[in-house]
């Protein structure tokens, strides 16, 4: 069970292989990829920035919650920071479990919570030369629902 912030491309196969266990029957993974557009604007590349110390403790809390709530064997997360091009992997979540239902639920829980609670931000660079820190409106709404911030 680990959270890692990576300044270099995430090696999915290496991460996945580390999780192979002979008593686990199912592996569910999520990858967030950099899309070529966001809210109608054409994206060229972006920067992810993290507050590493706080991101680490908050992400580890989320992983522990997933382990407590779902019957899983293991769960890991890696998030990229720095400059990423379209098509690169921003985040990877891997979960193993004896039974697949728990693995799906835990994987979705982890990425959902990460997007609301873990201090990482993105600055999108658009094809038109402009750039800007992205406000994830869905994340903001959910943070308000959770009482983390207010309307």
């Amino acid at each position: 069970m680990y959270f890692e912030i990576s300044e270099t491309p995430i090696d999915i196969i290496e991460r996945r292989t580390r999780m192979v266990q002979y008593h686990a029957g199912g592996y569910v993974s999520f990858e967030g990829w950099i899309r070529d557009h966001n809210h109608g604007k054409e994206v060229r590349s972006l920067e992810y920035q993290a507050y590493p110390a706080l991101a680490g403790t908050e992400a580890e809390k989320i992983l522990q919650e997933a382990k407590d709530q779902f019957a899983i064997d293991d769960c890991d997360v890696v998030h990229r920071v720095g400059h990423l091009d379209v098509g690169e992997i921003a985040v990877w979540v891997g979960v193993t479990a004896a039974h697949r239902g728990a693995a799906f639920d835990a994987c979705e829980y982890i990425i959902d919570e990460l997007k609301i609670r873990v201090p990482i931000w993105k600055n999108e660079h658009y094809l038109n030369g402009k750039s800007g820190w992205v406000e994830c409106h869905e994340c903001k709404k959910k943070a308000i629902e959770k009482g983390l911030i207010h309307e």
């Binding site: 609670r117 931000w121 820190w133």
Partner: protein, 79 residues
């Protein structure tokens, strides 16, 4: 008291730096944020931020100590 302020995302643009040592009479994160808003002409509402003290999420009204490391956390956008 002197605080170590860490700036992330748009706060880096507003403050024009990543961090600074900041001397202030403010005794809570809320008071400190108000002071900072004036200094850097920030008008982002405090209620839409979280605050971290010494790398832990904290309460806006908790008393600060000299040397505390403080960061204002705008809505996150990872993943």
């Amino acid at each position: 008291m002197t605080y170590q302020l860490l700036y992330f995302a748009m706060f880096q643009d507003w403050a024009g730096k990543n961090e600074e040592q900041f001397s202030s009479a403010a005794a809570t994160p809320a008071a400190l944020y108000e002071e900072l808003c004036k200094k850097y002409s920030i008008n982002y509402p405090q209620r839409q931020l979280r605050v971290a003290v010494n790398d832990q999420f904290a309460n806006w009204e908790q008393p600060l100590n000299d040397g505390d490391r403080i960061a204002f956390i705008p809505p996150v956008a990872g993943g």
